[in-house]
């Protein structure tokens, strides 16, 4: 991959975004996008999603000089795929976003109508402002800026916008497979996360994976009368409780052999970066309404970002209605999820857990172990393309925001990142512009317009840098 010889002046990008007319264009088009009720969970809005996808493809053709901008159908809501004109010998970057939003109910909890964007000061309120319309549209505006300032893109650009992220991206993998050749890029860029400090973007270089399973125990043919039979046999919830209790030791570590295999130690540079993330334990505890408590030997942020966890997500057995029913319950079910960290293999951890349950369930109980979905953890390697992507993003954020980004891991899982890694084997840069109080998924979702405009600058700068330096 070569270099591009025409480079925009940093000041030119800044100047373009600061221009009032341009800002108005960005703002008005964002508001148009936000007015579209693209609620993927609710089939009544299917037409709105199609309309939203069409509008975005249109925007690409009209304002971004895309060589191709198409709406591709799926078995669910459509995807938008756009390609910039070919830049020979330059790398290709894939920008991902999702145009679908969460339902807005309960409407009464909103101070302003969710689908009528409302600017108060520098804050824009409305469903999708942060998650993810505001964040991905920032990238379209960055492309418009580059086009306008330099007359061309500094590298090959592909944009893919999904319409089912909020409902599990069920059909996105088949789009990746079907359009594999045209979507294959050297790197993926996503803005769909939030920072812990307002006004300071975050670079998430790692995501935890997630793995679900269910354990069912049966201890008798049916629930038994606790008077007639009480004492003569075991009790399913009691056996389940004994298994769950045995899963953890006194230092709150998971006792399953192999559970922590392949977990990387925290590198000195990571410790250093983590120390720069502002954190108030008391405030966090108050926010959760919970005492901070976890694996011995680790801090709270290490526990949620660097360590795997095993949670019982739900348990049910016997009589759970009003009053009492004096039975010996014959069965009990518990659901579990594991958060995996970089380098852990979901299948291997699942094998360890199943083996543990088989070995630790006494023969007086009959065990059924049901494997559920898995999403692999993600780590942006700090070498090769990953390292270059990261350095470029740091430089670009410095240019756009006048500050260095927070750099940390994220405890959650983002399915599409695992898919990009699995299908294309390329790194994903996660540049989060959301603020900690943006209330994504909740009522009165908002987005700080300072982050939007500065993000356009940073985005255009980032693409310029990636075009300038060999990715």
């Amino acid at each position: 991959m070569g270099r591009t010889d025409v480079m925009p002046e940093p000041s030119a990008i800044q100047a373009y975004v600061n221009d009032e007319t341009n800002r108005r264009f960005f703002f008005d088009n964002l508001c148009e996008l936000l007015r579209c009720q693209s609620v993927s969970a609710d089939s009544r809005y299917a037409g709105k999603l199609q309309e939203c996808a069409d509008r975005l493809a249109c925007f690409g053709r009209e304002y971004l000089d895309m060589a191709e901008a198409k709406v591709v159908p799926t078995a669910g809501h459509p995807c938008v795929i756009m390609h910039g004109r070919t830049v020979p010998n330059a790398p290709r970057v894939l920008i991902y976003g999702h145009y679908d939003v969460q339902p807005a109910e309960d409407l009464e909890l909103w101070d302003t109508p969710p689908f009528e964007p409302c600017l108060k000061g520098h804050t824009l309120y409305g469903r999708g402002t942060c998650d993810d319309k505001g964040q991905f549209f920032m990238w379209l505006c960055a492309l418009k800026t580059l086009r306008s300032v330099t007359g061309r893109y500094p590298l090959n650009i592909t944009v893919v916008l999904e319409g089912e992220e909020e409902i599990g991206s069920a059909h996105f993998t088949s789009v990746l497979e079907e359009y594999r050749d045209e979507l294959k890029a050297d790197a993926v860029i996503i803005s769909d996360t939030s920072s812990v400090v307002k006004g300071v973007p975050v670079l998430h270089y790692s995501l935890r994976g997630v793995m679900c399973f269910e354990v069912r125990l049966r201890t008798a043919a049916c629930d038994l009368h606790s008077g007639v039979h009480g004492g003569v046999c075991t009790n399913a919830p009691r056996e389940m409780a004994q298994l769950i209790a045995k899963l953890y030791d006194e230092s709150s570590r998971v006792t399953v052999p192999g559970f922590y295999d392949n977990v990387l130690p925290i590198e000195p540079w990571e410790e250093e970066r983590l120390a720069k993330v502002p954190f108030n334990a008391e405030e966090y505890s108050r926010q959760l309404g919970a005492e901070l408590y976890g694996e011995a030997g680790f801090t709270t942020n290490q526990r949620r970002w660097f360590r795997p966890t095993l949670e019982c997500n739900g348990i049910c057995g016997g009589y759970t209605g009003e009053g009492s029913k004096t039975i010996i319950p014959a069965s009990c079910t518990a659901k579990f999820s594991v958060r995996l960290v970089a380098h852990q293999k979901p299948e291997k951890v699942m094998d360890c857990l199943e083996k543990w349950f088989v070995e630790n369930t006494p023969k007086r109980a009959e065990l059924t172990f049901v494997r559920g979905e898995m999403t692999a953890p993600y780590l942006l390697e700090q070498s090769g393309t990953g390292a270059k992507l990261f350095a470029a993003a740091e430089e670009a954020v410095q240019k756009g925001f006048g500050t260095e980004p927070l750099i940390c891991r994220n405890g959650g899982a983002i399915g599409v990142v695992a898919e990009f890694s699995r299908v294309f084997g390329v790194p994903t840069l996660l540049l989060g512009l959301g603020s900690p109080d943006d209330r994504t998924h909740g009522p009165n979702e908002k987005f700080e317009m300072d982050n939007f405009y500065k993000g356009i600058v940073a985005g255009a700068e980032l693409l310029s840098i990636l075009g300038r330096d060999t990715l």
Copy 2:
């Protein structure tokens, strides 16, 4: 209390019951009673319960020469109270039964209509045949027999028939309180239990009590995202599991201090009686579909009849629907019941349990302990009135059935027995005529007519003995 001087010849009672015309009378009237759909749980049948009560009072007046036979209203279904003519200087016996029955649903599981009694060989099928119409009507037939054979009753007789036993006897205590003076007797007799051997009646000299409570744990203000926060705080089902697991030691004994206080050792005579109760462990295990397992140092029958137990009757927390939901559940609830044995005090055991939960719940979880209903355990004292009642019953069963009764404890609780003991302070004789396969509460409930006719003889003999000997 004196003696009655007119005693029926044993052979006269036997002869009366063996007479075909008399048998037909007993059988026809039992069938009339069984046809009445006195389902207490279902308000649509309220009229049927009233009708059934009226019919029973009528039967008392017409065939039993009762001095008084009345239907007394309650806030629920009515009770029937009947008094025989006064026998001066003789003790008073209170015969208790319940004329209400369990619902018959699912009707498709019945081979013959539940409210149309059907005789096949010596077995009568129908709802209430065993529980409890067949068993209490046996006592009314015994009274009819005594009246017919001797022209009078050998002692003072009171009959009380309840209409809400199957729904918890909610209004029975107020009947006991309101009619205290006329119901007060020297002993209570109940036939509402089943034997473990077909054709051999059982004398239950002890019942377990029961005591319910609920434990609620809260570990956070609301369910938390297991990706964002997983690792930083505890998990309510996990804390509940740790508490439940800690309630039992490795020998399956309850670890709560004071839990076994006041539990009596098994007396040599009880061991002896217990040894006479036929028991096939393999068959029992197969019947339950469960492995036999319980408190170390005790046999299966000792565990269910002589030892207190603590069961988790139900547990619920977090997400329990289809698929998975990756949350850290903020709350978990578990319901428990304790089966208490003779001499244990429900309030004291409840205190021990609450104290244990308070002391063992870590401060990272917020505990709510909710006390539920309590029924005291019951033991027929083997001295004084209790001993005489028991000896008379053994003699009477020998006369009616030609065999000695099984004598054992019962693991269940019968609320009214605890009430008779509490309100009147008198012993209750539990003479069970049901067979182990009578399917009380289930479809195709049945009653062996041999037990019915022999029971009439034994009942009449028992009342004669109690009249002859000073109670």
